[in-house]
Structure formats: C-alpha cells, structure tokens
Symmetry: C2
Subunit: 391 residues, 2 copies
C-alpha cells in the first residue's frame, strides 16, 4: 500500500529523487505540499490545485478538530471526500498549533489543555487524542504529537520538550490503529545539535516509516535553519522519507533539498499571493506597486499558469487594490504553480545529476527583496507563523 | 459583424429563441449575463465562467471609470484583454450607478456631477462622456446614458427623467464612434404605461439596434415589474434584441422570457452565493442552516456543476461558517451554473414550442422561501441594489 523508492541520487550533494506511494496515489519527491488548513487551500479549488501539478495536500488536525469537528468530517465521508481531493493528504498532529496559536493552560507529561483560539473553550489534546483524530480524519500520512517550543529557548527547557516529544512519539505509535496510514515521527531540539541528535536517535529506535524535522523556521533565520536541517537530515535513515515542516522560500527549499529533504509544506505561496506578492524565477514582485498600473505583461512571461496566460500585472494590481477576490485567487494560483514548477526543476536536476549547479542560482534569490519591500498591507513573508493561517 | 436572428417563436406566448452575433462570438438567447462589476465576476475566473455555459458578461462603466480609469484599461489592451475574457461583453452606461450609488451633486439637461462613492471626488458624467468611455473600453454592446429615478416617484418627476433619457439617447447616438460596437437604447418611465409608451416610441424613432428596459426591479415587486415588462416588450420592435436590466429571480426570468425578453443580467447568483444561498430546481437552500452540518448530499443531486460533483452540503456549510474563500466561490459557481442551466432549459422549451408549460413550474418558485429565510448574515436577495455590488 505504501512504498518509498529512491530512483536517483545527486553525486555532489545529498539530494535524492524518489517516489512515495500512498493509498491515494503517488508523490514525486522532492515535493511541495500546499496547505489546506481548514480543508481548503485558500481560494484555490482542488481541480485548480491539481492543474498546478500539486500531488499531495496538507490539512491541519488542530483546526479541523475545533471546526467542524472530527465526527462531522467522519460523517461527511472522511477527509478526502470532505476536501473534494482524491489524491494523497497529510495531516499534522496539532502539536504546533497548540503551542503557537492557542492559549496554553496546562501541560503535563500526558496531555495539554488549552483555550481554543476561536472562543476560548477549554480543549485537551494528547498523543492518544491526536492520533485518534487523525485516524478518523483518514489522511494518508499522519504525524506524531510533539512539543514545539519557541526559539530562543534554554537548553533545559528544550531538553524537557525533547523528552516529552519522545514519550509522546511512543504513545502516538501505540495509539495508531490504521494500516492504510503512515505515521511519521517528528524530531525536536531546536538548533542544538546534541539535543537534535539525541531526539533523532531515540526516534529511529521506534522505527517510524518516515521522519519530519520540526521546530524550525520559527525565527532562527535561514543560515541556522539550514545548518540544523543539514545536520538532522544526515542522521535520519537514508531509505525513509524526510519531511521539513513549514519551510519555506525558494532559497530555503533549494538548500534543504541539497541536504536530503524530500517533502515540504508552507503557506508562503498562498499567504503571499493573497497579499499581491508574486514569486518568479527572476525574483519577487509586489503587485501593489504603482509601477505596475499600466503594465501589460504577465507576472512571468515564461510561466504557463492560467494567471500568466490570461492576465497582465496591471489587471492583477487593479483586482488587488479594489479587493476583488480574483486578485488573491489569481496570484495564489500563480505562486502555487511557481512552487510546483520549482520542485519539478529540482527533480529534473537531480535526475540529471546537476543538482548543485541548479541549486546555486537560488542562493541569493528573493528573500532579501521580499524583506526590503515590507509594508503594512503585507504580512511578513516568512514562514514563522506557518501553520497559523487563520484567515 | 452583428446580427440578431430569431430561430423559433413559441406559439402560446411571446417567448422567442434567437442568436445574437457579436465581434467576439455569439449569444444564444434568451440569455443570462453574469455581472463582472469591476472587471471580474466575484470569485469566479473566466475559464470557470465559461464552464458554466455563460457566453456574455456585463461590466460596469461607472466602476471602471473610477478605478482603474478608462486610460488604464485602454493601455492594458482594452476591456476583453483586461478581464481575460475573449467572448462578448456588454457595458452599462453608468447612469444607474450615478443615481443609486454616488452622492448626486448636480443634474442638468446636459450632464450630472456626483461624488465618487469611494473618496467623494467630484466627477462629471454626460452622454458624451459615458459613450466615449464605453467606446474606449471596447465592449461589444454598450448602453445609452439614461436617468434612472427611484420608485415610487411623481409622474411629473418621472416625465422629466423620461425627457432627459430621450435627449441623452440622441446625444449618445451622436457621440458613438465605433462600428464594432452596438449601442442599445434604454426605456424609462417607471411603471407608468403612458410614459413607458412615450419613451419607447420616441426611442424607436432613433433606430437603435437593440433596446433595454431600464428602471425596473427597484422595489416595485414581481407583479408590477412583470406587468410593466409585458407592456413594454410588446411595443418594442420584434426583430431587435430586448434586454431587461438587472432582473432577477428564476421566477422573474421565466415570466419575462414569456413576455419576449432576450437578455438578462443580475448579481443574484453571485451575491447570494457569497452568502451561502443556493438555487436549485426544487427551490432555494440556505447553507448556513445547521440541518446541513452532516449532510453528505450535494446542493442538487441532478446538477452537473463542479461544486455538486465534488462537495457535500456539510462541507460547503463548514467553508461558509469558517469564512474559507472556497465557500463563496463554490456556491457562486453552482448558482451561475444553475442560471445557465435554467436558460438552456428555457431555450429548449421554446424550440420545442412548449414554453408556457415549462414556465408554469417556476411561477411559485423560491422567492417566498428566500424571503422567509432572511437573516442578518444574508443580504436581501432581491435585485434592488443590482449594480451596487461593491464588495
């Protein structure tokens, strides 16, 4: 039902080209998964998403647990039918959201109690509950319940989080009931090599079918994120999929693939798209800029997406300025297409054993330009609030 | 370049089945035109719109004149390219919006001066300006500048509006410069038969290639609207297209087609769709209703639209309640598909000379049920504010 087969390895880096088979179809890796927080990738219908080349979508256990609730999703036919998406789906465990989004009331070695970010209702989550909910939602890949702490953080506090994450990983495995879902473990330990190594080695003993690197892209910056990813990816089993959670910019992705990462998710293409921020191979554009008012050219003349084939930058700017839904939709659609095109280029470069030279062109790409163009209308285009995408 | 050919006439009513040829393709009538106020049908991309069966779209001169401005649309390649829609487009003249939407400062027999609804800026509009703007936007069918007064209104005031509308119709014809656009006249006169007749007879002398009935569906109610439409349609030239502006519900459309109307536009499918209100052949549904929480069935099991093929009422309710863009998009898409299906059924009934019996089933359709389900979250589902669709 599941398999992970590596087809090519780049000789000058740790990048690899593989295929992950799931009960709902395959994922060609390295792969980027768009985020459908509450069962929908914001503004983009499943058929449009498939047209971008996306194969697998992420949904958020925390959000679906609160609304509409797991029983409702079950009654409506499970997550695939609920979302109108027949391809592979991955759900995260809710751990990240509990710690980043809700009001945390109480945490013990067995469970957390928090206040819903919607109405303040007291809600409990534990490894058993998180896995039970994910079993009932029915995604193809589900995630262990982990403790994700904010950075910077003391080594003592981080050690506590790692110990809890390991204890909860074991409990997650015990709770897991479905053979048609793969349960991945998540490493924690911040940017501390010793704790990362300890966490990773202990998790490997539990023999998960795949591993995620969690707790990164939370403000530590590109260099430290990539350094930690390089270190952590290298000590994960080579024959199992590696998933870097909540990352990132094209530059982040290029470097992480080089470190041997297979899977990614991030709200960047959609969140930035909704704010009129477009990714291109040449860099990034802020479509609100008045210089685009009468620009007849598409976002990217080399792009084959629906947006670029049919709309000028001038029209897109108009839609964004007057708050027409078409603005966020069309720019998100382009950005998602760009991310899939980017991954397709990366896969091809690995197949042709020239990944290193391909990745080099992305080293100085875009983040500087994005950051230099901050304004009040635009959310910060980092993935710090990655799974926080409430609206 | 243009033609209007009537293929079938229903023997028991005034309904007719025709084809309107334009430089951007044909329109099978009776036809429903979705409204793309500011260059976009809210939430629906042009390729999705084409999939619903829509052939012609309406755009609003008033809104485009204010933002992004006619020069910008011209520079961006004209209205078709601006909107990403290569099929026929109709623009209204802005008359309706000037009187319903903006702060009217001054009106004379030559022009109106008003305050923009966006920033209060003083703006002038006249037949010459309205036609010049529409010539430059480049729609296939454009409309004469008219004075549309609120109902109820004194006969004296209405007579003044009719006289201005006639004067402005003549000036509109004189100003019109492009042979690849058809300019339609608009009758006014409220629900007063004498004034409607006078206005219509005088307009006919000016020999427009098509005529619209304006100033209806502004609060006078279904019966009076249809009575006036019947009277007015019957005295319009039989060999020219007849367009009833801003109408309406399925019941309105069925009755107006019976009176000999060929073309319609209305924001109902999209505005109601954004509020979770769905049209079906069986009646209307308010998807916020808690009874749909775990309803696995589509909006309409007989509907072949993307929404009904892929989403349950339960999922749609969830999307609407949590403010996911997918909610408004999917319900709007269904409603637009329903309206096009409705018109297709009407055309077929005329072709098979059974229009009267087909129309009968819509006599008691939906409006009662819509009105009985009013709530604060839902805008009033009439077409009273038809061209007012600001957000």
């Amino acid at each position: 039902m599941f398999s992970f087969n590596i087809a090519n390895k780049d000789s000058s880096s740790l990048a690899r080209r593989a295929t992950l088979e799931t009960p709902h179809g395959k994922l060609e890796t390295p792969a980027f998964m768009p985020v459908g927080t509450r069962g929908s990738v914001k503004g983009i219908l499943p058929n449009q998403l498939a047209d971008t080349g996306a194969q697998m979508i992420l949904a958020n256990t925390y959000h679906l647990y609160l609304r509409p609730g797991v029983e409702t999703v079950e009654t409506l036919g499970g997550l695939h039918r609920f979302m109108g998406w027949d391809g592979p789906i991955l759900t995260d465990s809710g751990g990240y959201q509990v710690f980043s989004l809700s009001g945390l009331n109480h945490i013990s070695d067995d469970e957390v109690e928090f206040a819903s970010h919607i109405d303040g209702a007291k809600i409990r989550l534990s490894p058993q509950i998180a896995i039970d909910v994910q079993n009932r939602l029915g995604a193809d890949i589900i995630m262990a319940f982990d403790e994700c702490v904010e950075l910077p953080c003391s080594k003592e506090r981080m050690r506590l989080a790692v110990d809890r994450t390991l204890r909860w990983a074991e409990q997650s495995l015990e709770a897991h009931q479905r053979s048609d879902q793969w349960l991945f473990g998540i490493t924690q330990g911040g940017t501390d090599p010793e704790l990362r190594q300890y966490c990773t080695e202990e998790l490997i003993k539990l023999d998960f079918p795949g591993y995620a690197i969690g707790g990164l892209s939370v403000g530590e910056g590109h260099e430290l994120m990539i350094e930690t990813t390089r270190f952590n990816a290298a000590i994960l089993p080579e024959d199992k999929p590696r998933y870097l959670m909540g990352v990132g910019t094209p530059r982040d992705l290029a470097a992480a693939i080089e470190a041997g990462i297979d899977m990614f998710d991030c709200v960047m293409p959609t969140r930035n798209g909704r704010n009129g921020f477009a990714f291109t191979s040449e860099g990034t554009l802020r479509l609100r800029n008045s210089k685009y008012t009468t620009d007849r050219s598409p976002i990217d003349p080399n792009c084959s997406c629906y947006t670029c084939r049919n709309f000028s930058k001038g029209t897109l700017r108009h839609f964004i300025l007057v708050n027409e839904m078409a603005g966020p939709i069309l720019v998100s659609l382009h950005n998602l297409h760009f991310y899939q095109w980017f991954m397709q280029q990366a896969r091809q470069a690995i197949e042709e054993n020239r990944y290193g030279s391909w990745a080099k062109q992305w080293q100085n790409h875009d983040m500087e330009r994005i950051q230099s163009q901050k304004d009040k209308d635009m959310e910060s285009p980092t993935c710090e609030t990655i799974h926080n995408d409430l609206n």
